[in-house]
């Protein structure tokens, strides 16, 4: 068992070292200085082992410190009358929650995948060694913080001393129950994918943890002592079940599959993007088109993606309409609201830039365009012809603007309407500026996303993002819009600037797209 533990620990150290070197190699500018020879370098190995030991140490103490201080001690302090009993109750119930959320045994980690599946180590020995180490870390890591925060909460010393063992006892109980569940019904628990019932229980016990301390329970310390002892005794008894259990290999064979184990965060993220894009294709009621050539192709793209295009725009429109009606109703019923609403309309137009950014379908649509359409079509030479690129660009921009204009129109009409309803303004040009600036925002974002996509087409054939410029522009757009929320500026000024900016931007970017997209729109 000990040998197995050290073998798997060395394996963990090795790939941790490799992951650290690999991570450095991926850095944009300094990456090239980290050559492949580093993987076999003894000095680096020693250095990384030290870093790994530090990571291991922090994994023993840091999580427990955060858990006990933030989730148990601080909330317990809010129950001023009985901090000690609150501490005990919260710890007890959250420990039960932890038996579902932090099982270790049923967490399909990379460590287990490498050791059991790839290196074909003995599943039982590996499982028990790994689990034993987990419980040991739990006890060592909990002691200092339970004692410290327990002492600060005036929890009796004997309960502080027993608490880590109670936590471990609960873990052993739940693990042996989960193993029993497999033996009886072949049900395999996956820590990362709790069932709806388990989610319900997690929520219930979390709520109970913070509600029960509200009631003063006489003799809570004695009740807790009995519970602690019972859990510890049962835990010790059931430990034998875990050690004698024989089906670890079959459990891990089913649990450690690529569906469950996150082996490569990058490829998992890509798979998720890909899956989402495929799910966006509507495969019910396959409406077709009577058009021909590229019109046919483009129309079918729009129709098959109505979930993320037209339907989504309709829904946003409906919500915008409902919000407008509610706001109007509030203004009619409660005249006190008129002043603040009027002030919002006159000074908070920058806020709407962020809202229009969030509502715009541009980035989702361009992503689906690539994943479901251009990714495959760009491998055909005819599709990369300048004429074809520009023809589709024209059709796409018209449709994206149209789709985004639908909710924009409702919002653009709603704002002047609410301004009028909330008392209006002496400067009637404000009504027009509000309307036109919202429309210009919608057009701006639609054009922006598509033009950036055409000019910087960022993906390669493996759907990996290869253009840092594309990401920087996307983040930049987000941050600028986000920080605009802090800007208070008279609608007249911001609106006028926005309109002029949007018109100029759209003209320039369309010019650039028509000029350069035939050269830039290809697989990276």
């Amino acid at each position: 068992m000990i040998t197995t533990f050290f073998l798997s620990f060395r394996l963990k150290l090795t790939y941790r070292k490799n992951s650290i070197i690999y991570a450095f190699q991926q850095f944009p500018l300094i990456g090239k200085y980290f050559s492949n020879s580093l993987y076999g370098n003894r000095g680096i190995e020693a250095l990384v082992n030290v870093i790994s030991a530090l990571i291991e140490l922090s994994s023993i103490f840091l999580g427990k410190l955060l858990f006990i201080s933030l989730m148990v001690f601080l909330p317990a302090c809010l129950y001023k009358e009985n901090v000690a009993s609150a501490f005990l109750i919260i710890l007890f119930f959250l420990t039960i929650v932890g038996t579902w959320l932090n099982t270790n045994m049923f967490n399909p980690t990379k460590d287990k995948y490498y050791a059991i599946v790839l290196m074909r180590m003995d599943a039982k020995k590996e499982a028990i060694a790994e689990y034993g180490y987990f419980l040991l870390k739990m006890i060592i890591g909990m002691y200092p913080f339970v004692c410290l925060f327990g002492f600060l909460s005036h929890v009796p010393w004997y309960l502080c001393m027993l608490a880590p063992w109670m936590v471990v006892g609960f873990k052993v109980l739940s693990t042996s129950y989960n193993l029993y569940l497999y033996k009886r019904k072949e049900l395999i628990v996956n820590e990362n994918k709790p069932t709806p019932i388990v989610w319900g229980l997690i929520i219930l016990f979390t709520v109970l943890a913070y509600i029960i301390p509200l009631c003063a329970i006489p003799g809570i310390e004695w009740i807790m002592l009995c519970c602690y002892l019972l859990v510890i005794i049962l835990g010790i008894t059931m430990w034998k079940y875990i050690v004698n259990f024989d089906n670890y290999f079959t459990i891990y064979k089913k649990l450690l599959t690529p569906n469950h184990v996150i082996l490569n965060a990058k490829s998992t993220q890509q798979d998720t993007l890909r899956k989402n894009a495929l799910n966006a294709i509507d495969n019910k009621n396959l409406e077709t088109s009577n058009k021909k050539g590229y019109s046919f192709f483009h129309e079918l793209f729009i129709k098959r993606h109505r979930k993320i295009l037209t339907t989504s725009a309709h829904n946003i429109t409906l919500v915008a309409f409902a919000v407008t009606c509610i706001a109007a109703l509030v203004l009619v019923i409660a005249p006190d609201a008129k002043k603040p609403v009027n002030s919002v309309m006159m000074n908070f137009l920058p806020y709407f830039l962020f809202i229009m950014y969030l509502l715009n379908r541009g980035s989702t649509v361009t992503q689906a365009m690539f994943m479901n359409c251009d990714h495959s079509m760009l491998t055909y030479r005819f599709y990369r012809q300048p004429k074809t690129i520009l023809e589709l660009f024209r059709r796409r921009i018209v449709d994206i603007v149209k789709i985004n204009l639908e909710p924009a129109l409702v919002i653009a009409l709603a704002l002047p309407f609410l301004l009028w309803l909330s008392g209006g303004t002496s400067e009637s040009l404000n009504y027009i500026v509000l309307f036109v600036s919202i429309i210009s925002m919608a057009v701006f974002f639609s054009v922006h996303h598509l033009v950036i996509y055409y000019l910087l087409q960022p993906y390669n054939i493996n759907m990996e993002m290869k253009s840092p410029a594309y990401q920087v522009i996307n983040w930049g757009t987000y941050f600028i819009c986000y920080y605009m929320m802090d800007l208070k500026m008279p609608t007249m000024i911001f609106g006028s600037v926005m309109i002029v900016f949007a018109v100029t931007y759209v003209l320039i970017s369309l010019f650039l797209a028509y000029r350069y997209a035939p050269k830039t729109f290809h697989l990276k």
């Binding site: 050539g293 192709f297 005819f382």
Partner: protein, 234 residues
């Protein structure tokens, strides 16, 4: 018609994948392009298809009118991993393809006739291609490249995902096609290359060389190819 490659060079960072590739491919032949893993077969195809920019050399078509640059109508490329627009049904993809290639198609058949050619079942023709198997997508990709009737067809490991029956049918189809086309077929499977291809070309250490199969028994030819792939002198 000929496809001429002159001193093509392509490197990725410090790695020189294509050093000095020169060759003339002629109409009416199927060329088997063999090379070891990572030899640069796909890179060569990507260069000819202008998916990648070459670092040196030139390539062009020579026909009755003289030398000229390759246009998009001249070339079809069947990738080893077939990629098709998954939001379309097989029928819609073909309709779209026929619409835009009608001008340079030799003889237009009905969509169902094309499906028949590839032995695609009726029940699959109106399904979204996102639900197609790998082999079905491969068939579709091969089919659209045949429909477009390009003079040069680059085929990157195209038969590996087909079952044996379909692979045999496809071989027959490619043999029919070769008369007025240049077919360049990359594969790892030597038997396939020997069965199907008229000429064997080897890409080794960034250089393309033809294996002269004249007067050689099959086994002798195999030995010669293996030696060439290992980089041994004759």
């Amino acid at each position: 018609m000929k496809l001429e490659l002159h001193h093509i060079e392509k490197r990725f960072d410090d790695k020189e994948v294509l050093k000095d590739v020169s060759f003339t491919f002629e109409e009416g032949h199927i060329y088997g392009l063999l090379g070891r893993n990572g030899a640069g077969k796909t890179t060569l195809f990507n260069c000819i298809n202008e998916d990648l920019k070459i670092d040196g050399g030139e390539f062009f078509i020579e026909d009755d009118k003289g030398k000229r640059k390759i246009t998009s109508e001249d070339i079809g490329y069947v990738l080893s991993t077939p990629i098709v627009p998954e939001f379309l049904t097989g029928r819609e993809f073909l309709k779209f393809f026929i619409d835009i290639n009608r001008n340079h198609m030799k003889e237009e058949k009905t969509i169902d006739e094309y499906f028949e050619l590839m032995k695609i079942e009726e029940s699959d023709r109106d399904k979204l291609m996102k639900d197609y198997s790998h082999g079905m997508k491969n068939k579709m990709q091969l089919l659209v490249n045949i429909i477009a009737n390009p003079k040069i067809l680059l085929l990157d490991e195209p038969l590996t995902s087909f079952d044996v029956v379909v692979a045999e049918e496809m071989k027959g189809l490619l043999k029919q096609l070769k008369h007025d086309h240049i077919l360049i077929f990359s594969t790892h499977i030597m038997e396939l290359a020997l069965d199907l291809c008229d000429e064997i070309v080897i890409l080794n250490h960034g250089i393309l060389e033809e294996i002269d199969r004249h007067n050689l028994e099959r086994n002798e030819l195999k030995d010669k190819i293996i030696s060439a792939l290992k980089g041994e002198e004759e």
